[in-house]
Symmetry: C2
Subunit: 295 residues, 2 copies
């Protein structure tokens, strides 16, 4: 494992431990708390919380100081997966190789577990204000930004367009909207939140936001490309399943070659943006990591 | 209409106008925003936001200053109704005499409309910090309290126990848990939030909280009693429907007479608590209003 992947793993373990601390263990109602813990602790790369922590560090704030916000964002991400997997949405039985929340706890409890994670996330994020050296205004700005990134004009907006688009031919603009909102918004918000808590300047916040926008899109395009040329054993699903399911993807709408060109362009733009900062090793490595991703 | 009901109506109109202002009207995705507006603007007595405003006023803060928080709480209340009505939960077709959200927009869109309202509520509440004379710490405390009141240890917790209890015989403690959490938590949090934004003292916050706890429970017990002796035309559903549906209610578990005694006791306690404050006319009237409720 290279240096970068080792760092991802170390940081993910820190996030796991913090989540384990924040989520009530033996609380009543028991089945509800079991359900939400089941989904949060099911593993996952913890990319979003790591982005919060690394972004804080980039602007001179110790990563430990932003852990409440990092965990809150991961809880919001997990809620979105639980609701997405419900029969009324994507109807998925498996997530990260394990039965989905509603398969284990029933649909009603899974709905409630998602609702609870989304709600509880905001009191965890608000806790960030109790940490020394964090400004109250910054925490309020972060709450505002995360709420917008996850809400009707952000992530939920992307899901709503995705639902309406399913089984239909869509244009490039609609695909870009879905991907920018379903995944992009929360990724940008993670980077922005770390930077805001570190009191980064307006112009630095803008730069990290623009970088985040490229990273979010890169993530999605490479996902779509992997469905064509990926290693089935590594990505854990059948190559070609998107085409078989008539899913609208970057290669199907923009063409395979143009999708590869978009990847190159986004990588270059992201690199240019992040080059204006010192100590940007993590963020340069992240671009390479996404580009070289095989699963 | 008496003075108190006139006040409720006037304040409800202010809340309606503010919600209309906060919710994006022509925003993309259109159907999602139509769905959430449909449910929020379907009417309703706006009790919770009025409690926020009156509680602020009780402690010397103009009610206009807490409108963002008042609206955020109403959005959270509305989300809970949308999700509660879903087929996987209570499977209700009608709400306030109109088809429920999922009947008009489909189940997936209703699920997302609820998610969006819950998420967007927190950025609306965070906006309260931009109002002059409101302390940032108070807004953060309010976000924390509302998140807890609505989350896994609050409202969603009550719903989870209710789901697990449905069709089973439960004991008195479980019924009390369900009602205290499903409705009580958000009602207390409304009163507490108005007081906290008005910088009420710790001991006053405790008193208004205790009053809220009685009001929440009163509301539920009287609801259950009305199902036995209410006027069908006024309550808008069949009298006796709880008994027919084998629903666990206060009269069925504690007995009819003891339920009436509980009402008397709660009214007296609430009145004693609120008597320690001047200008408590609204809060005294509220007790009478709940007690004399016929629908």
């Amino acid at each position: 494992m290279d240096e970068f992947q080792k760092l991802l793993k170390q940081k993910a373990e820190i996030v796991d431990a913090a989540l384990d601390f924040y989520l009530p263990r033996e609380a009543f109602p028991k089945r509800l708390h079991q359900a939400l813990r089941y989904s949060v602790m099911a593993g996952g790369k913890r990319i979003r919380p790591i982005l919060v922590m690394e972004s804080a560090k980039l602007f001179g704030l110790s990563f430990e100081k932003v852990i409440p916000t990092a965990c809150g964002i991961e809880m919001i991400h997990t809620y979105s997966l639980i609701h997405d997997d419900l029969p009324v949405m994507d109807n998925d039985d498996l997530r990260r190789g394990k039965p989905t929340c509603h398969k284990v706890f029933g649909e009603a409890m899974a709905l409630l577990a998602g609702d609870a994670l989304l709600t509880d996330a905001f009191s965890i994020i608000a806790r960030n204000s109790a940490i020394s050296g964090i400004s109250l205004q910054a925490v309020l700005d972060v709450i505002d930004r995360i709420s917008k990134a996850a809400g009707s004009l952000g992530m939920v907006g992307g899901q709503a367009v995705d639902i309406d688009a399913s089984g239909k031919d869509i244009d490039e603009q609609t695909l870009l909207y879905i991907d920018r909102h379903k995944t992009g918004c929360l990724i940008s918000a993670s980077l922005w939140s770390g930077a805001r808590l570190a009191e980064a300047s307006e112009s630095d916040l803008k730069t990290i936001d623009d970088y985040g926008e490229r990273i979010g899109l890169l993530f999605q395009i490479i996902d779509d490309i992997l469905d064509i040329n990926g290693d089935e054993k590594l990505i854990g699903k059948r190559v070609g399943s998107d085409a078989k399911n008539n899913k609208n993807t970057f290669p199907s709408l923009f063409g395979y070659d143009e999708s590869l060109q978009m990847v190159e362009k986004l990588c270059k733009e992201a690199k240019d943006l992040i080059s204006s900062f010192d100590n940007n090793w993590f963020f340069i490595q992240l671009i390479e990591f996404l580009k070289e991703r095989r699963y």
